[in-house]
């Protein structure tokens, strides 16, 4: 498709986005405002991630897109097709082969390496937004490192429910400075945020980009007596038998029968190819 520039955006726009990315990497966890463009997909459907991917992609890249951990969910298919058409880059479903991975709501199970970039789609970049709706206020709170409100919220959770009642988009503190929303990944994924790959977060509608550089300290907020607990369903994957991966729960019959399987489809397939089997396979 030669009507558009490589990866859709014009070079000036990509430069503007790259500047925001570099600033984000220089100040880990800080939300950098950027002049987000209208994209040919709706706001809220990954326009931030798409713009970040467009700015970092080169013709030599191998691109992978996942939504809910899976390569074949409809919006992941749509975004992958968009870059196949506008950038002509190779795409892959293999986590280890991809140089740029755009994701929504998950971090892949397989550890990422120094030559990879993980691009997150972010709906609400501001971790304090639901405690304070005003941007003018939350920016002030970040600049003063005034995060008491967040700790009060977590404390109130414990006093009301006996546990911190946040199970996804669990807030983290990056490099001992900024409190950051890791995007709506399950808290199971939080420990992986300290990784070898570059992590870039794009929020198109909210016009923000932020980043976590490789090997940066990322701490999930908690209390000494109520430590962070990256829990998951207490099952093993019915397809590959993995007991260390995040699981999707699927309703399999009218009687409400349940089955659990890896949310990361590439991880599951790789394990099955290597000969691992789960209970569903054994029964079949």
């Amino acid at each position: 498709m030669s009507d558009y520039n490589f990866a859709y955006l014009d070079e000036q726009t990509k430069r503007m986005i790259r500047r925001a990315i570099l600033k984000g990497l220089a100040v880990p966890g800080y939300q950098v405002p950027f002049a987000s463009r209208e994209m040919p997909m709706p706001y809220g459907w990954g326009t931030g991630g798409v713009q970040v991917s467009a700015a970092v992609l080169t013709p030599q890249d191998r691109f992978k897109v996942i939504d809910q951990g899976a390569d074949d969910t409809t919006n992941a298919v749509s975004i992958r097709k968009f870059f196949e058409r506008t950038a002509g880059v190779d795409t892959t479903e293999d986590t280890r082969c991809a140089s740029v991975i755009q994701t929504r709501h998950r971090i892949p199970e397989a550890p990422l390496s120094a030559d990879q970039i993980l691009v997150y789609q972010v709906p609400i970049p501001e971790p304090l937004r639901f405690l304070e709706p005003r941007e003018t206020e939350t920016r002030k709170m970040h600049s003063l490192q005034e995060y008491g409100l967040m700790h009060v919220k977590l404390y109130e959770d414990i006093s009301r429910h006996g546990a911190i009642a946040t199970s996804y988009a669990y807030p983290v503190q990056v490099a001992d400075r900024y409190v950051m929303d890791p995007s709506p990944i399950p808290k199971f994924d939080n420990p992986k945020l300290d990784m070898a790959a570059i992590q870039l977060f794009g929020a198109g509608r909210e016009q923000r980009i932020y980043a976590v550089p490789p090997h940066t300290k990322v701490v999930s907020l908690d209390f000494d007596d109520y430590p962070f607990d990256p829990s998951k369903a207490d099952h093993a994957c019915a397809l590959c038998g993995a007991d260390d991966s995040y699981l999707d729960e699927v309703i399999v019959d009218d009687a409400g029968g349940r089955m659990f399987m890896c949310s990361d489809t590439d991880y599951c397939r790789t394990r099955r190819d290597a000969g691992h089997v789960g209970t569903a396979e054994e029964a079949a």
Binding site: Y4, Y8, D10, P33, F34, A35, S36, R37, E38, M39, P42, Y43, G44, W45, T47, D67, Q68, A70, D72, T73, T74, N75, A76, V77, S78, K81, R104, H105, P123, R134, E135, T136, H161, G162, A163, A165, S167, Y168, A169, P184, I185, P186, F188, Q207, R208, S231, K232, A233, Y246, L247, D248, E249, V250, V252, S263, T265, A280, E281, A283, A284
Partner: protein, 365 residues
């Protein structure tokens, strides 16, 4: 064995094919041409141009056809196209005082130079379905008169000359371009006006209406409403002067509002301002009311806590493309986050049940 839902790609292609078929409708009925949409659904075209921030009636007609008449979808198509266009420069400010007016009315003066010109308005039509249109759309020619040769002065200029209307501060500073600069607050009036003119008509209307019903009430008189064509001039650096590159139709509304004055200023009227592409007068009037409500701080008025006074609230929620995108994204799969909520609720319920069981046991003992 259960197999995870696959084949997203084929499902998407098939859905799009079906959509195209539905868009066309019954093939025994003649297909709409873009010229028909442009000429006969002009007000829809105007809205799509205004909120799409792109003045091109033919593209707007195409967008309306492609979107099956869903105007927000059409606006989205215009915006997504607009953002890919190269930017050659910024036009000189349009001179609405030189507008060739098709319509020009004032609610504050019975008559003024330039007169009251009703123009093509629905205002005094009786809203009765015209069944004749269902059978035969032929219309006789409307009576015509030679257009006014000289420019029509703004009503506001008469009040201003007498010192009764507050003067707006003049500035040659380049206003921020909201399509090239991320929003930050306080935004300032130039940014507010840019946001309001592309904001959703329904949202701006609702906000304006709320000020009329007492949420930050500030009674507005329509000092003037004018609709017509203005020239667009662009300065060509190689030439060193501006040349006209075309004309566009605009609707402009200036409201005159009460103002009691302050310690430093004698009583004076103040203004709200609305300017919108095409014939879009509901939007232009609503915009002027919201603009006026948002000026409370600079005019030394009280913060009444009303939504229409809240710049951040208005500007961050008026864009229907942002709003519809985020609203509709909840259709996308969320099973990963839902799963984590499911685990949490199950765990909390288990703990609650254990507590109740312990209490019952203790009570029994």
């Amino acid at each position: 064995m259960y197999v995870a839902v696959k084949g997203g790609e084929r499902a998407i292609d098939n859905a799009h094919a079906w959509l195209a078929e539905e868009r066309r409708g019954d093939r025994d009925v003649a297909e709409l041409s873009l010229a028909q949409i442009r000429e006969q659904l002009t007000l829809a075209v105007n809205r799509v141009m205004a909120e799409g921030s792109l003045y091109d009636p033919d593209l707007a007609a195409l967008a309306i056809k492609q979107s099956r008449g869903d105007l927000i979808e059409a606006i989205f198509l215009m915006r997504a196209y607009r953002t890919t266009l190269p930017r050659f420069g910024y036009s000189a400010p349009v001179q609405t005082a030189d507008m060739a007016c098709d319509r020009r009315i004032s609610a504050t003066f019975k008559d003024a130079p330039g007169g009251q010109v009703l123009g093509p308005t629905f205002d005094y039509t009786h809203r009765l379905l015209d069944f004749k249109l269902a059978a035969d759309g032929d219309v006789p020619d409307a009576p015509a008169a030679p257009p006014r040769a000289e420019p029509t002065p703004h009503i506001a200029s008469f009040l201003r000359d007498e010192g009764l209307l507050q003067d707006e501060p003049l500035s040659d500073a380049d206003p921020v371009d909201i399509t090239r600069t991320p929003m930050s607050y306080p935004a300032g009036r130039a940014v507010r006006l840019q946001s309001l003119t592309r904001g959703d008509e329904g949202f701006i209307l609702g906000m304006a209406y709320s000020t009329q019903r007492g949420y930050a009430r500030n009674h507005a008189f329509v000092g003037e409403l004018r609709i017509g064509k203005v020239d667009v001039a662009l300065e060509i650096p190689e030439l060193g002067f501006a040349i006209d590159i075309g004309e566009i139709e605009l609707t402009e509304c200036e409201t005159v509002n009460q103002f009691t004055g302050s310690k430093t200023q004698p009583p004076q009227f103040t203004r709200g301002y609305g300017l919108v592409f095409g014939q879009s007068e509901r939007k232009a009037i609503a915009m002027a009311l919201v603009d006026r409500a948002l000026r409370w701080k600079e005019l030394g008025e009280d913060d009444l806590g009303a939504a229409a006074q809240d710049e951040e609230f208005i500007l961050s929620h008026s864009d229907n493309i942002q709003a519809t995108g985020f609203l509709e994204h909840i259709k996308l799969p969320h099973y990963v986050d839902f799963q984590s909520e499911l685990e949490l609720v199950r765990k909390l319920r288990r703990e609650a049940e254990d507590t109740v069981a312990t209490q019952v046991q203790e009570a029994a003992e």
